[in-house]
Subunit: 181 residues, 2 copies
DNA sequence: AACAACATGTAACCGGTTACATGATTGA
DNA sequence: TCAATCATGTAACCGGTTACATGTTGTT
């Protein structure tokens, strides 16, 4: 059973506790969003597929007249999740448009500006991640918090690196001595 | 004129110097691959679209009977590129499956193993990037090398962070005192 | 009464990846 | 002569994003 990206995150979250599709979306936004996002348009169809594949079961749990389906793992789903967790591969992918701008810059001032704005973006992301730390800290498992802290550390690192390089490029002395063409 | 992801990288690379689709692919693999990849299946159709939109022109430059089309920017393409470079937004996206594994781990040893393997992946990527540094260093522009060094620094940082945390989680004393549940 | 949040789902669109298909040139 | 590299392109597939569509419940 090949799991899709969305399938993996759904199974993992359902093992933590049974949830509805809506709750999965909310939890993704509060936890994995910065390295593994998912929208309703992926979640609901994937829940359907996972149920049809027998990896999860859904039970109706309405609030009054508002329908709500809570899903949980089957034994088979548990097995699929464990299988995936036991592997040690999987992609680490980055898509970084501000960096591409720096890459294609034609003058130090332009590259410096691109890096400054990239630094600002990293600062903002780090801040957003810090803001959801309390939610991660309240969970039973300590590992979501660990992942979140990785995110904060990573973006703080990027921010510092970009700021340093931006400053270096903006300094005429350094720029001239290192780029004599 | 809205540029696609692939369109941006093509325009940028064609301004550095005129190239064929094949050469663009080669240069992507030697430079932006780690934060902005593209395959033939994106490049050739996009070249067609850019030409139809008047942003680039292609001229036949065969090697014997082997056909070859070299593209370069038009004034309009130059303008589109500058416009994009002057903006200061654009996504910074990460997709990190090893981190997702750590996130969903249910025991310190499992999280530690996930982080170890993530650290190994970062080490390998950093090595690959270091290996193409000489090629980047030989270019006219210093900024591709800068971007590449960012990649090396970033993956080295991730490697260190993951190794440290993996070691911490594998140490029974620390683990017990920090996870009393 | 109105709005935010809860809740589920579909359809169209978009763009990237993979596989396929073809053929020439160069160097070992 | 054989393999690697140069070179171009299409088609099928896959999966994610966005917009749309609908209705309930709780709060102000």
């Amino acid at each position: 059973m090949e799991l899709t990206a969305t399938g993996k995150v759904i199974l993992g979250m359902l093992r933590m506790r049974p949830r509805s599709g809506y709750e999965i979306k909310g939890f993704v936004d509060d936890s994995t969003r910065f390295f593994w996002s998912a929208g309703y348009g992926s979640i609901y169809p994937e829940l359907k597929r996972l149920r049809e594949a027998g990896l999860i079961t859904g039970s109706e749990d309405p609030t009054g007249d508002r329908r709500r389906v809570v899903y949980k793992l089957t034994a088979s789903g548990e097995r699929a999740l464990d299988e995936w967790l036991a592997a040690d591969d999987g992609p680490i992918e980055l898509r970084d448009e501000p960096l591409l701008r720096a890459f294609f810059s034609t003058a130090p001032e332009q590259a410096s500006a691109a890096l400054e704005s990239k630094a600002a973006a990293h600062a903002e992301i780090a801040e957003q991640l810090s803001a959801i730390e309390p939610k991660a800290a309240a969970l039973d498992s300590p590992f979501p918090l660990l992942a979140l802290r990785y995110g904060v550390a990573l973006h703080e690192f990027s921010r510092r690196w970009c700021e340093q390089q931006a400053a270096r490029l903006a300094d005429p002395e350094v720029t001239e001595s290192e780029e004599p063409r």
